[in-house]
């Protein structure tokens, strides 16, 4: 298992890249993390796996948009090996 990867028990593990920005990056203490999850996992499962590691994440769930490979997706979006999942807190540009 690569350094920094969070293990999720199950068969057929896949690895996704998690990007976090702004306050979520600070909470996770990393802008980028590799996450091992069970094949067939959905975005919501990945979130839960991250929240297990960092419980403070959960209060941000309703305000966080999640992009998979650059497109905003819902929590039931099914993940594939190598996907890039980005956690986007409320924006502040301009």
């Amino acid at each position: 298992m690569r350094a920094g990867a969070v293990p999720v028990h199950g068969t057929h593990p896949i690895v996704i890249r998690v990007l976090a920005f702004g306050r979520l990056r600070e909470l996770l203490n990393a802008g980028e993390t590799a996450l091992d999850i069970r094949a067939g996992s959905r975005v919501g499962d990945a979130w839960s796996a991250l929240a297990d590691r960092c419980p403070a994440l959960d209060e941000h769930r309703s305000s966080t948009r999640i992009a998979c490979n650059g497109r905003i997706v819902a929590l039931d979006h099914v993940l594939r090996d190598g996907d890039e999942v980005a956690l986007l807190p409320p924006v502040g540009g301009g």
Binding site: L19, F21, G22, R23, R25, E26, S62, S63, R65, A67, G70, A86, L88, P89, P90, V91, G92, G93, G94
Partner: protein, 140 residues
């Protein structure tokens, strides 16, 4: 041009964003203020962006502006990193044959950027504290 940049935005370079033949150009510059909304003294801002999604969102916003307001040329540039007060954080240039389309497109672009572009801002205060600030216009 749609870009996230780390170096200072030079207003004089924005002139180049005006499309040849157009009759009106509207530029918006966002500038770091020395006061937060609650009146606290701000020493600077830190911006970060999800860069590929930010630039593709800028391009999408420009496409939408053209659908709404007609043939408008848009340039959107946002700076990230550490910015001091008085520095330019964002520039939007809209040029069009006629001024109304340029005004409408420029305003649409900055409004939408603030609402949905994946860019985040941390306000740093003179007392050493700092806080992530979200836009009132936020999508969520």
């Amino acid at each position: 041009m749609f870009a996230i940049v780390r170096e200072p935005i030079e207003p004089r370079r924005l002139e180049e964003a005006i499309r040849a033949g157009d009759g009106g150009a509207v530029t918006f510059l966002g500038i770091v203020r020395g006061r937060a909304e609650d009146g606290r003294a701000v020493s600077g801002l830190s911006y970060e962006a999800f860069e590929p999604l930010a630039t593709s969102e800028f391009a999408k916003i420009a496409d939408e502006a053209r659908e709404r307001f007609g043939d408008v040329a848009l340039t959107i540039v946002h700076r990230i990193g550490e910015l001091g007060t008085g520095e330019i954080s964002v520039a939007v240039v809209a040029s069009a044959a006629r001024r109304v389309a340029a005004f409408d497109a420029c305003r649409y672009a900055i409004d939408e950027l603030k609402r949905r572009a994946p860019i985040w801002k941390k306000e740093r205060y003179a007392d050493g504290s700092a806080r992530w600030r979200e836009n009132r216009e936020n999508l969520l």
